[in-house]
């Protein structure tokens, strides 16, 4: 079972339906109380960095999410949910993120339309089970004005080009993030969710605890 974090931000239903479409059971979680029951977790999100962190704080999510990541179970952040995996966000000030990945989230420099909205292609930087079966230069749907700058280049799995090259997929150990919306990126986005779902099913971290 894959949990989807509901903290009042993001199109949860789309993520749930996309997972169902590719054959995985998902549950939308309105509180962190049942986190121990899920084998994998998706953190969606749209809106502003600080708002999202505040909503997570109010919902009592922050410590449980960090704990979940530490437990070794597969954890995927989508869009803003990927950005807040990092240490610091520079949206409307400077705010602390979950700090599960090292680095900052910065705004696209002037000279292009912001938000970056639409279908952009991926340049695969390293192989990963999350992107298994997805060809280089496949297209995904993005909507965002900020992007992550990981402190460790090794955390960058794939990049996209919007006048600046920015990370489109990041990850380290069991914590992953996609800047685009896989649930809205038919057909390759569904492949990514399939890969995540399989990983969750094969992962035995929960049973070994």
């Amino acid at each position: 079972m894959i949990g989807i974090v509901d903290y009042g931000r993001g199109n949860l239903r789309s993520v749930e339906k996309a997972l169902e479409k590719v054959g995985f059971e998902a549950v939308i979680m309105a509180s962190p109380n049942e986190l121990s029951k899920v084998k994998g977790l998706i953190l969606p999100g749209v809106g502003a960095f600080a708002d999202a962190m505040e909503a997570l704080k109010v919902g009592g999510w922050i410590e449980p999410l960090i704990e979940f990541a530490r437990s070794g179970r597969p954890f995927l952040g989508i869009c803003l949910g990927m950005q807040i995996l990092f240490e610091v966000g520079e949206e409307h000030g400077e705010y602390a993120g979950l700090g599960l990945l090292a680095g900052r989230v910065v705004r696209f420099p002037a000279g292009r339309k912001v938000p970056h909205m639409g279908w952009n292609s991926l340049e695969l930087e390293q192989s990963s089970r999350l992107l298994e079966g997805i060809p280089n230069e496949s297209y995904f749907y993005f909507v965002h004005s900020y992007y992550a700058e990981p402190a460790d280049q090794g955390d960058i799995i794939a990049t996209s080009d919007y006048g600046v090259i920015f990370p489109a997929v990041v990850g380290k150990a069991n914590v992953w993030g996609a800047q685009f919306h896989p649930e809205k990126s038919s057909p390759w986005g569904l492949q990514l969710l399939t890969n995540f779902g399989k990983w969750v099913n094969e992962d035995d971290t929960l049973s070994s605890h």
Binding site: P115, G118, S121, Y139, K184
Partner: protein, 254 residues
């Protein structure tokens, strides 16, 4: 690099598609969900449903269409038509829409753009602008499906909606709508340059060349088309192949 988007528009009345009902490969050609799923499979980049139902009694029907679409379609889709309040917007987004489009209500209550952007994020607030050329060679904003002049200048209104927090502009030339003689390129380019938001060009498409012009000369980020897809004049793949041959970056070429 960011590709240009091709967006079919579906007119929905009482939960049924009113154009594009002659697709032979559909079981029920009037079902918006089945048509939307077909466009997804064919490689459309996004979809827009325009609810042309006159009375708000049937709003629940549209919510149901949205809910079923969200189960079958995995590209972004926008709902427009008759949304007047934050609660209307919330219902559509909750049901699974990615974006909503405001037109008349945005002009009458500009605050709705701001409140919508604040509550749900700019990325889901599309403002639709219906433009008609004036005798002075400028463009005026029309509402109520093009029946009512507002006295607002299109370029000023576009800048205003950007400042209020809109995430995208759907720009329709009333002069060109239904003519099949091509987008009003001068208008499209002027709006595209007046704002830093993505602009979707609409109104007047009759040929593949028109789509290419909208994206190049018109400087639009996306093109919306209804009849050329619905009546099967061209498939999405044919459109994309043509655009790619013109050097325009598109996704999903089979």
């Amino acid at each position: 690099m960011l590709s240009k988007r091709i967006i079919p528009c579906l007119d929905v009345h009482d939960g049924r598609v009113v154009k594009g009902t002659n697709f032979v490969q559909l079981r029920d050609a009037g079902d918006p969900v089945e048509l939307a799923a077909l466009y997804d499979r064919e490689g459309a980049d996004e979809l827009i449903f325009l609810d042309i139902t006159a009375s708000s009694d049937n709003r629940e029907t549209m919510v149901d269409v949205v809910r079923r679409t969200a189960e079958e379609v995995f590209i972004p889709f926008t709902i427009g038509g008759g949304l007047r309040t934050i609660e209307d917007i919330r219902r559509m987004l909750r049901a699974g829409a990615d974006k909503i489009a405001l037109n008349t209500s945005a002009v009458k209550t500009p605050r709705l753009i701001q409140e919508g952007a604040h509550a749900f994020g700019s990325q889901c607030i599309v403002v639709a602008i219906d433009a008609r050329k004036t005798a002075q060679g400028q463009w005026e904003v029309y509402i109520h499906g093009g029946r009512t002049a507002t006295g607002k200048d299109v370029l000023e209104w576009a800048a205003e909606v950007e400042a209020l927090g809109a995430g995208e502009i759907l720009l329709t030339s009333m002069d060109r709508d239904g003519t099949k003689i091509g987008y009003e390129l001068e208008l499209t380019r002027a709006v595209s340059r007046a704002v830093s938001l993505p602009v979707i060009a609409s109104g007047g498409v009759g040929t593949l060349e028109h789509l290419a012009e909208g994206l190049t000369l018109g400087e639009a980020d996306a093109v919306l088309a209804a009849s050329i897809f619905h009546y099967k004049e061209y498939s999405i793949q044919e459109v994309k192949r043509f655009l790619a041959e013109r050097g325009i970056l598109v996704r999903g070429l089979a």
